[in-house]
Amino acid sequence: MQLSRDDLLQAYRRMKIIREFEERLHEEIQTGEIAGFTHLYCGQEAVAVGVCENLTDDDKLVSTHRGHGHCLAKGCDVSGMMKEIWGSREGLCKGKGGSMHIADVDKGMLGANGIVGAGAPIMVGAALAAKLNGKGNVAVSFSGDGACNQGTTFEAMNMAVVTKAPAIFVFENNHYSEHTGVEYAVGTEKDIASRAEAFGMKVARADGTDFFAVHDTMREILEYVRAGNGPAAIEFDTERFFGHFEGDPQRYRGKGELDRIREERDCLKKFRESVTGAKLLEGADLDKVDEEVLAQIEQAVQDARSAARPTAEDVLEDVYISY
């Protein structure tokens, strides 16, 4: 599908926001201001954005521990997320959840998730609700190559098939679950899509570092699922540019691997080459977006730094609606 100039600029902006958000966090974490465990999404931007550009706020998304990119792509507020990661009471989740639990239900973002494999069943529920509502909406889960080994993921896939839920299982294969390689942990010759296929659903595979491949594959699958044909799965081959979590020494990487993937598998670089090569956008258009995004991230960090801190009384709120 031919994307309009505005569509292209928006997609690039969203990917760039994720990139700069994460690059900045990588720096800020060294200063000790940010607490907790942070898993950065850098390198996988084209997957989140290529998938989510096809969705509306009424389509639901369930994410993972590596959720910043999914949240940003689904439209969560940049500043609200930054404040959450800083633990501010002005954050999207009032500082109660932090990096691993960002959610914004109004945007159809049903939460990042600290439990690997917890997302897929929740997504099936959201898909069944969409089916009940009958408006053609879908639900999407992101899962890693590690999460695909959880029984919960298997159960969710089978249940989605037997209930014909409008569910889309997006598998982001970044080749590692923590320090373990996908070749070791996934028994089916590294292939995740074939597992989904064995459960009886339509599957597709695409290069997750190529925004256009992601976008087109998702659009095709989405049409199929929206039409009431039941669930589907997509496996994207992608790369994570940082460690599993911030502070990971990454001894499992090959020599020169990080330089190579930054050089050859950078989805933003590829996007730029592709759109300028085809004369769809000028380099200057993208430079302008780069500048604006950097300023936006800078502002978000400044806001997060000075945002109100939570107090001891806040601990007790939000456990229940009524007491």
Partner: protein, 338 residues
């Protein structure tokens, strides 16, 4: 004696027991680390560095790096144990018992009883638990009490490197399933550990860490250090506290608790889990039932509130027990009716 870190006491004890008994096997996510990668096996040796060098020494059949599959890990530990092995399964975070609770609660804990005492299940589930790292609601919990409520499980909560060594070795040699709770904030703690390769601490024997006659403070895991700090502060004001480290919550050393309360007549219970239906309420009930006549004040529990563990520093700080809160609780029981 050697000065050893808590985490190294875990590693060294398992290593030596694996050398001693070829039936001891280890399994869990990234317990080798680097499997199927360019960096190769042992690229990390466990995310908590508690299994470094295992793979090299004992090979893939005894050091089993698993996919992310907690139900299968714990279930397989059960099957290994029913088949004559002594598996040590690692749950990278204790919170993940949520993923595999069936295998712990309905399977491993109950085999012996359901099978009429005709089998044994010497499986160890190492649970890395506790708050203090702003790891939020799904990576910070202390399910010690929940697991203690399950008949069939022994639950061990070491608070020092020496206790890690003695209790872990005991657990490995024990024929029942054992939940071994390691507090992540204690991993860097250093302490003297006996060199004896047969050093064991029998289950159900609490440790008296401070002695005093005015109040009894009951604690386990990370709470022990906090209770000791509070006791030291109170001692400056002439208040004497018995600080009792439970060491194992199942079996529980009731005698040590009741003997102490008989003298002090006052009890403060400290626990890291929310208060309802908890270890804290269990201990309060114990002294109310069995030491009622000695009590000079109602028992007081110092616990987090009835909420999940929050993320932000300020929130987690307010959530957790600390020495000040323990001291205040002691002053409260001392002030009762006086």
């Amino acid at each position: 004696m050697a000065r050893v870190m808590y985490r190294d006491a875990v590693r060294d004890t398992i290593f030596k027991e694996m050398q001693r008994d070829e039936n001891v096997v280890v399994l869990g996510e990234d317990v080798v680390g680097g499997m199927g990668t360019a960096g190769g096996p042992e690229a990390i040796g466990g995310i908590w560095s508690t299994s470094g060098g295992f793979y090299e020494a004992f090979g893939p059949d005894r050091v089993i790096d698993t996919p992310i599959s907690e139900s299968a890990i714990v279930g397989a530990a059960g099957g290994l144990a029913l088949s004559g092995k002594r598996p040590i399964a690692e749950l990278m975070f204790a919170d993940f018992i949520g993923v595999c609770l069936d295998q712990i609660w309905n399977q491993i804990a109950k085999f012996r009883y359901m099978f009429g005492g005709k089998t044994k299940c010497p499986a160890i589930i190492r649970c890395i638990y506790g708050a203090g790292y702003n790891a939020a609601a799904q990576h910070s919990q202390a399910p010690t009490g929940i697991l203690t409520s399950m008949p069939g499980l022994k639950v061990v909560v070491p608070s020092t490197p020496a206790d890690v060594a003695g209790l872990l070795r005991q657990a490995i040699r024990d024929d029942d399933p054992v939940i071994f709770m390691e507090h992540k904030a204690l991993y860097g703690l250093k302490g003297e550990v006996p060199d004896d390769d047969d050093y064991t601490i029998p289950f159900g024997h609490a440790r008296l860490c401070r002695a005093g006659e005015d109040v009894t403070i009951l604690a386990s895991g990370m709470m022990v250090g906090m209770a000791e700090k509070a006791a030291d502060k109170l001692a400056e004001d002439g208040v004497g506290a018995d600080v009792i480290d439970l060491r194992t919550t199942s079996p529980l050393d009731e005698e040590a608790i009741l003997d102490s309360v008989e003298v002090t007549g006052r009890v403060v219970v400290v626990d890291e889990a929310p208060p309802r239906c908890s270890l804290a309420t269990d201990l309060c009930a114990l002294v109310a039932e069995k030491a009622f006549a000695s009590l000079k004040a109602p028992p007081v529990a110092v616990t987090p509130p009835h909420t999940p563990v929050p993320f932000a520093r300020e929130l987690e700080g307010a959530y957790l027990p600390n020495p000040d809160k323990i001291e205040a609780a002691v002053r409260k029981v001392l002030a009762y009716n006086s």
